[in-house]
């Protein structure tokens, strides 16, 4: 930004909500001299500072890029509505927190795609950042706009806006991507040629190098490269060894409070449980654990560099980490003196972890959240959530005995094959949790009284899951079911939360959308949609209007069951897990048959042919009894 813009910004900051979000300068933020590097990367998170700063992926890549002497990475977040409006009024571009550079001054602009309902924010950020929204309108001096993250596995819904997608583990491909763009820019290559070179990298998808045709019924007819540089299928990138992979030893410590204000230790990536609704569980395969040695080294470095008073362990299913009790013990021993508490956000509560629970409590007691997902055993078997009611009740009883008094239960409604009995089951389960509390003698349980919060989100079928072909419940059905659930959960000590079903409907449309969804997102943004995941800004009517503007129907994207022979928009992406395996799993779901955790023996999901899964030959739990699936999210 120039001096005048800077002065206007300083003035403007005095008039907006929570200005501390826009100032940067945090401990461990990295400010490099722009003249000293050959490539600049503007890392964008398409939501506000307090959400984005809680995200681990951004911290990993920020650290990784800034480790390079030839490159720099600076952060940009979605300004809140008041700030965005005032920036437009005052003609201030979207700027990075470190050097206050306008977004369009970066060589590379990268978005991490965490949830579909942040997509209008991408358009808003590009526009505020003075970058043409459509890739085709960008000139030679505009940045190359790239994106990655879990939602990049179906990149088609953003194909018009993003020049290149990175599919799979970002830390595996980032250096190559930067090298190609840096070299291309320095050699004076055209934008198109740089994109061609990017398409040659494994795991990179350049949508402009592919053509799409549709059938009359709106389904996909063909999808094919229009350039020899573009591969037919794009294979996801995989970090083979997590212990030797880059992990931040220092992360920016915000001044203002953010959602997850603590240091995070990613103990493993991937999950072997195979819940059929879970996209992350399929996308992040295979399971890779970080070694204890490396974790303790990282924990020490993070603790010293951040001064955080709290550490959390992160993975899809921390309870499955082979050395979890040893790790927790080691961390507790290390940090007792320094008053650093260790919290376990996702845990399996069985006999081993009960011991850890008691230890957690020594330092700090965090809330207990469990995710049975469905109300009956039948439906839990359909979704392959290997949890029994017995597991759940034993877990909460253990927790109540350790002094817990409030429990959050997460459920989904609208799962395939769901009946009224399954909804009633949610009520029964909540009641049994309350009863479990009262089954404990008064002097042993907490004096606060029990409080059970049951949350029911609306099931959204996601690409690369066995349910990717499934229909979502219509809004009408969802509303009826929510009304019933309200009845079933009218229980003493039980509180019921439900989610905005309209938001889930749009999420379903976008997540399985094709390229035409780009036009809908653009139309929605034009109609003033942004910050959609913030209820106070969500404009459902405008979204419906946007669908109408484009002559498209939500029913086609959300309510329609796809036949197996339909060409899916994301089918050109090779996520490792094969379509054949997903189909087999979907059929097993219909027959209410479960599939065991693959640590008991390889189920042949597809990744076994990649040579990246350590457990294909030596399943660690082979011959052992099955353990309960993780109860927590």
């Amino acid at each position: 930004m120039n001096e005048q813009e800077n002065a206007r910004l300083e003035k403007l900051l005095e008039t907006v909500q929570k200005p501390a979000r826009y100032i940067g300068g945090e401990m461990n933020s990295v400010r490099k001299d722009w003249d000293s590097v050959r490539c600049t990367f503007g890392f964008c998170f398409a939501d506000t500072y307090e959400i984005g700063m809680s995200h681990l992926g951004m911290k990993i890549l920020y650290y990784l890029i800034n480790q390079r002497p030839d490159a720099l990475c600076e952060r940009l977040f979605m300004p809140d509505a008041d700030m965005a409006d005032k920036m437009r009024e005052e003609n201030i571009p979207l700027f990075s927190l470190e050097s206050r550079k306008a977004l369009n001054h970066f060589d590379i602009v990268g978005f991490t795609l965490q949830y579909e309902m942040s997509y209008t924010n991408i358009l808003e950020m590009l526009d505020l950042g003075r970058i043409p929204i459509f890739g085709k309108d960008r000139g030679e001096t505009d940045p190359i706009v790239v994106a990655g993250g879990p939602c990049a596995f179906n990149p088609e819904n953003l194909a018009y806006f993003i020049d290149a997608f990175m599919i799979g583990d970002g830390e595996d491909v980032m250096h190559e991507l930067i090298d190609v763009i840096r070299d291309g820019r320095e050699a004076g290559l055209s934008r198109k040629d740089i994109l061609r070179n990017l398409a040659k990298l494994e795991g990179v998808y350049v949508p402009s190098l592919y053509d799409v045709e549709y059938n009359e019924d709106g389904t996909l007819k063909s999808f094919a490269p229009n350039d020899p540089a573009a591969p037919k299928t794009v294979k996801k990138r995989v970090v083979k060894d997590l212990s030797s992979a880059v992990y931040p030893e220092a992360i920016p410590v915000p001044y203002t409070e953010i959602v997850h204000d603590r240091m995070v230790l990613e103990i493993m990536r991937g999950c072997t449980r195979g819940c059929r609704f879970c996209q992350a569980g399929m996308l992040y395969r295979p399971v890779r654990e970080r070694s204890m040695e490396r974790l303790l080294e990282l924990a020490d470095k993070l603790q010293q560099s951040t001064g955080y008073e709290e550490m959390s362990l992160s993975s899809l299913s921390s309870g499955d980490f082979t050395c979890l009790p040893q790790l927790i013990q080691a961390l507790m021993d290390r940090y007792k003196e320094k008053r650093v508490s260790v919290s376990l956000p996702s845990m399996r509560i069985d006999n081993i972890v009960k011991q850890s629970l008691e230890e957690t409590q020594q330092v700090k007691k965090s809330g207990l959240t469990l995710a049975p997902e469905a109300g009956t055993q039948r439906l839990r078997d359909v979704i392959n959530k290997g949890v029994t009611e017995e597991d759940l009740i034993r877990s909460v009883t253990d927790a109540f005995e350790c002094g817990w008094s409030s429990v959050k239960l997460y459920f989904m409604m609208g799962l395939p094959t769901e009946t009224d009995e399954d909804l009633q089951g949610i009520g029964h389960l909540a009641k049994k949790v309350v009863d479990a509390y009262y089954s404990i003698p008064k002097e042993k349980r907490s004096k606060n009284g029990v409080r059970v919060t049951a949350s029911a989100s609306v099931f959204v079928p996601k690409p690369f899951t066995p349910f990717q072909w499934a229909a979502q419940d219509t809004l009408e059905t969802v509303h009826e079911k929510q009304a019933k659930l309200r009845q079933y959960l009218k229980l003493k000590n039980v509180h019921f939360n439900w989610h905005e079903s309209e938001l889930s409907l749009l999420e379903a449309c976008i997540s399985r959308g094709d390229r035409r969804i780009c036009d809908v997102i653009y139309a929605a943004w034009k109609r003033g949609c942004r910050l959609d995941s913030w209820m106070e800004h969500f404009k459902y009517d405008q979204w419906l209007g946007a669908f109408a503007d484009c002559g498209l129907d939500v029913a086609f994207y959300a309510y329609r069951e796809r036949p197996y022979d339909e060409l899916l928009p994301w089918q050109f992406v090779d996520a490792g897990v094969t379509m054949a395996y997903l189909q087999k799993e979907n059929e097993k779901a219909k027959q209410v048959k479960t599939t065991p955790d693959c640590r008991h023996g390889c189920n042949g999901c597809g990744l076994h042919t990649w040579g990246v899964c350590d457990w294909v030959k030596n399943p660690p739990l082979k011959g052992k009894a099955q353990t309960a699936a993780p109860l927590a999210d």
């Binding site: 003035k11 900051l13 501390a20 100032i23 401990m27 410590v253 001044y255 951040t306 001064g307 955080y308």
Partner: protein, 220 residues
């Protein structure tokens, strides 16, 4: 023992509130590896007291805090360790060890110096300032916890000088009487009969009393 520490809250951080600044300082102290003292109780926190909270929007040039530590160490050693753990916009300027029985800076605080950088200065404003000060009584209404209360600002003003665009104000800041710079500016411009311009106010020094004179708080 405890350390009396002087630090700066640079203009970049002016939008950080008091509690956020406390937390940032506590985290810096944790990073420093200094022998800190913790509170008792279920959620122990680092013992640390600021002499006076700084409002959101206001930078501070020489803010004072008290940090109790275990054992003995020199101010220089403390300063070196803490400096290494602080971000550039939050530098520490000095540290002086004192006995645990030494009164808390908060208890010694009498007044503070503020500098307001006025965006525009009305004509003959210097004269206005003098006339304003010449009043025997300056009635104003200040916001307190229990509502709006009438008060007299004059005894709470120790000094008021204009130099170029900078208005330097020395105002009472203690438990019994506090005049916020914002209130003074409003009162002054109302007296002058002109619209109050935008102003960036910085607290430049905290003051205590010694032998009837105001001296830097950290020197006591």
């Amino acid at each position: 023992m405890k350390m009396i520490v002087v630090f700066e809250k640079a203009p970049r951080l002016r939008h950080i509130g008091h509690l956020d600044l406390m937390r940032a300082m506590q985290r810096a102290l944790r990073r420093s590896g200094l022998p800190l003292r913790y509170s008792q109780g279920f959620n122990p926190h680092i013992l640390l007291t600021f002499a006076a909270p700084l409002s959101v929007g206001m930078p501070g040039k020489r803010e004072v805090m008290e940090v109790p530590i275990e054992g003995e160490m020199t101010g220089e050693a403390f300063l070196t360790k803490l400096s290494a753990a602080l971000p550039p916009d939050l530098p520490v300027l000095s540290a002086v060890p004192v006995d645990d029985r030494h009164p808390a800076p908060m208890a010694l605080l009498t007044a503070a110096v503020y500098q307001a950088e006025l965006e525009t200065v009305p004509e003959n404003f210097g004269e206005m300032v003098e006339k304003y000060l010449a009043q025997k009584e300056i009635p104003a209404v200040r916001k307190t916890k229990t509502g709006m209360k009438p008060c007299d600002l004059r005894p709470m003003i120790y000094g008021l000088t204009l130099k170029g665009n900078t208005l330097t104000m020395v105002l009472a800041l203690c438990e019994s009487a506090t005049c916020k710079p914002d209130l003074l500016l409003s009162s002054l411009f109302e007296f002058a009969g002109t619209e109050r311009p935008r102003a960036l106010i910085t607290r430049t020094q905290l003051l205590g009393e010694k032998d009837g004179a105001l001296v830097p708080l950290e020197s006591l």
